[in-house]
Assembly symmetry: C2
Homo-oligomer: 250 residues x 2
Amino acid sequence: MTGSLVIAGLGPGAESLVTPEVGAALAQATDVVGYIPYVARVSERSGLTLHPSDNRIEIDRSRHALEMASEGRQVVVVSSGDPGVFAMASAVFETVEAGPAAWRDLDIRVLPGITAMLAAAARAGAPLGHDFCAINLSDNLKPWALIEKRLRLAAEADFAMAFYNPRSRSRPEGFAKTLQILQETCGNARPIIFARAVSTPEEEIRVVPLVDCTPEMADMRTMVLVGSSTTRIIERNGTPIVYTPRSVET
Amino acid sequence: MTGSLVIAGLGPGAESLVTPEVGAALAQATDVVGYIPYVARVSERSGLTLHPSDNRIEIDRSRHALEMASEGRQVVVVSSGDPGVFAMASAVFETVEAGPAAWRDLDIRVLPGITAMLAAAARAGAPLGHDFCAINLSDNLKPWALIEKRLRLAAEADFAMAFYNPRSRSRPEGFAKTLQILQETCGNARPIIFARAVSTPEEEIRVVPLVDCTPEMADMRTMVLVGSSTTRIIERNGTPIVYTPRSVET
């Protein structure tokens, strides 16, 4: 049988946000590969082997998946969110490019998922309803100077912003610097959304004016969204609605 | 009965990309409101009234939906893609803010969907696998000068880019200007992806070097994705794979 490799997005956490396309791929898989907590979201069944692996070994994991697909297995690599947004798809293609020529002609498909920033935005209202950018704040794989340059240019462009991986125990200082850059460039009135563990039982949404933000408000399970200069807050009972209008006045 | 308003994303076209959460909301709706081709994607059934409406009357449509929810109906406003990305969610919240105070306390929820740029990226490989921005190229609701400023700053930040609404019959010149700005700022080697009608029977994916792009390659059903300076192409039989690596060298 010809093998295949599917790189599938499981969405932010809730089963109700997994697309039927991804569900069908998992139902046909012989092998599921991925980071431990994502593989734990896949139901065990006879004929399916689960291959959970640790964080930060994305290339080893990709190689393993490609080898199994080459041997004729139906392999699904699972990511949370969307596999193409700071997740497994790029790691797999890096491995394909560096690997044997035969890997290029494997049947490889990417199945999109609900990425964290859009799940978070939906909970808050529509903060990304106008032009926006998405930045990975981790400097594990790129120099901090590039992140800082992008933050300053994004503020100058007046993009709303979505930050992935804002803060981890091993790099607590990056998000503090980010808040400082935003305060220098954006003005203090800007609403910031801290959306933690969206669509899971631990979900928590906070809307905080930039001037009141502290680094501790984010961790690795938090998406941070930053309004643009036109972003509005609708006060009401409960969490306010944050949205960015479609129009900018001429 | 208490009314509710759900703003739901139907994804780019295929039924297999509609989340179960959105399916459940449609199954409970008494009224579905939206642009004609999106409402046409919802199955008719007894107890459900469909309210298709024309393009460019988003505020009228929002008001109608809010009025029905106020009267106790279970209303779903449908968008293609994700409702928070250049779609109906902002229009509804603009209407809420301008409307009677009671509308603020309605049960309003946004249900995310697979937005066009992520469906398109998945088909091409992983072109948005590193920092990126999303820009609506339509100047119906913002000055062209702002679009141009954002394009130049996005190029300087070396973001990959996703363009919504690149070109329509009424504004053919904007995308021509966009290509010119990209050629000035990005260098000619940059890969451009034209992804038309992704996940529908009319789907068409083209990968074209920036130097060979012409405005006619895009229309209103096309998403345009622009690689960053680090984006790679893996040649193989058939459509090449386009991906942006996770790393940038220090």
